[in-house]
């Protein structure tokens, strides 16, 4: 039965150590200035940490296809929410403003 799959203990401890190391990495990178890449670097590390938690601590790697689809759909919708909001706010003022004359 796939749903009673037991994740080996060494995977739990391995993920735990990886999460601690990545926390240190994100603090270390934050002290350096990469210009426009500061936030993307921070989000990439956070995304990697979140993926480890979702796949192993939350067992999604070993779950049914339907559960995996649900988990993916939730975060996909979040991306839609953020991308469509930001494509408005970050492009404001990029086009010239037309003044209508009567």
């Amino acid at each position: 039965m796939s749903s009673t799959h037991t994740v080996p203990l060494k995977i739990y401890f391995g993920v735990f150590i990886a999460l601690c190391v990545l926390t240190g990495v994100t603090v270390w990178t934050a002290k350096h200035d990469y210009g426009a890449l500061n936030t993307p670097v921070a989000l990439a590390i956070a995304g990697l940490k979140a993926s480890l938690v979702i796949l192993f601590f939350m067992h999604v790697k070993y779950s049914s296809k339907l559960t995996q689809l649900f988990a993916f759909a939730g975060f996909f919708w979040l991306v839609l929410l953020l991308v469509f909001t930001l494509q408005d706010f970050m492009t404001r003022g990029m086009l010239p403003t037309y003044v209508f004359k009567h």
Binding site: S3, T23, A42, M58, S64, T67, F70, G74, L81
Partner: protein, 230 residues
């Protein structure tokens, strides 16, 4: 079917077997977590919009936070996620003592997180960093100014970390209830869905913090501005 009777303990009548029951429970939990993702997603969206409007103010405001306390709390929360994962592991193995140990560990580290959070909030209260009429943010000369855009950052800081802490308080209450059930021997190798689904909730709360930590504590860390002017 008497030879299969042992595997139907805890089976609700509207499910075919325990596998289907467990699968439905996991799916229902994920449906709930999706609503939680989008709920916190709205807060992260508001953060993205206001930070893109006031990037420098957000960096200055972020530098007022204590990176060490935030970092320690990140590790504390990761440890509590590990102990929660170990509680689920113990439940799968049918180890009653293991479940209780995992739940107690999760509770202790969860409570430790909130204690650190309390001292952080207290510090902000004392330094006039609570949005409102008494909000004062130090300018270049260290003189407190009213109504600066840094107030937006702190409004989001308290909304996001406050909602996160609220989720943890609810989690601690549920953990106590689960400890009682575990002591009573309610969880068996065939019936531990509550432990597993609460684990999903707890790990989700951990994920929210994984994003809150860099976005709230670390965005001003490269600017060389030392922490709050105490």
């Amino acid at each position: 079917m008497s030879d299969h009777a042992h595997s139907t303990v805890g089976l609700a009548h509207h499910f075919d077997d325990l596998e289907q029951q467990k699968e439905s429970g996991t799916l229902g939990m994920w449906a709930f977590l999706i609503t939680e993702v989008l709920f916190f997603g709205g807060l992260f969206g508001a953060y993205a919009v206001y930070r893109s409007s006031y990037p420098d103010a957000f960096m200055r405001a972020s530098a007022q936070l204590d990176v060490n306390l935030g970092g320690i709390n990140t590790i504390v929360l990761i440890v509590s996620s590990l102990t929660m994962a170990l509680a689920v592991y113990a439940a799968q193995k049918g180890s009653k003592g293991g479940i209780i140990a995992g739940l107690v560990g999760t509770w202790v580290f969860g409570a430790a997180f909130l204690v650190v959070k309390y001292f952080e909030y207290k510090h902000k209260w004392e330094h006039h960093l609570i949005p409102g009429p008494n909000f004062l943010f130090p300018d270049a000369h260290g003189v407190g100014q009213h109504g600066t855009p840094e107030q937006l950052y702190f409004a989001l800081y308290f909304a996001m970390t406050g909602m996160h802490a609220f989720h943890m308080i609810i989690g601690l209450v549920i953990l106590v209830w689960m400890m009682k059930k575990a002591r009573r021997g309610d969880f068996t190798v065939h019936n531990y869905a509550l432990v597993e689904n609460f684990g999903l909730y707890w790990h989700f709360v951990d994920i929210v913090w994984i994003f809150l930590f860099p976005l709230l504590y670390l965005i001003g860390a490269h600017s060389g501005t030392p922490g709050a002017p105490h």
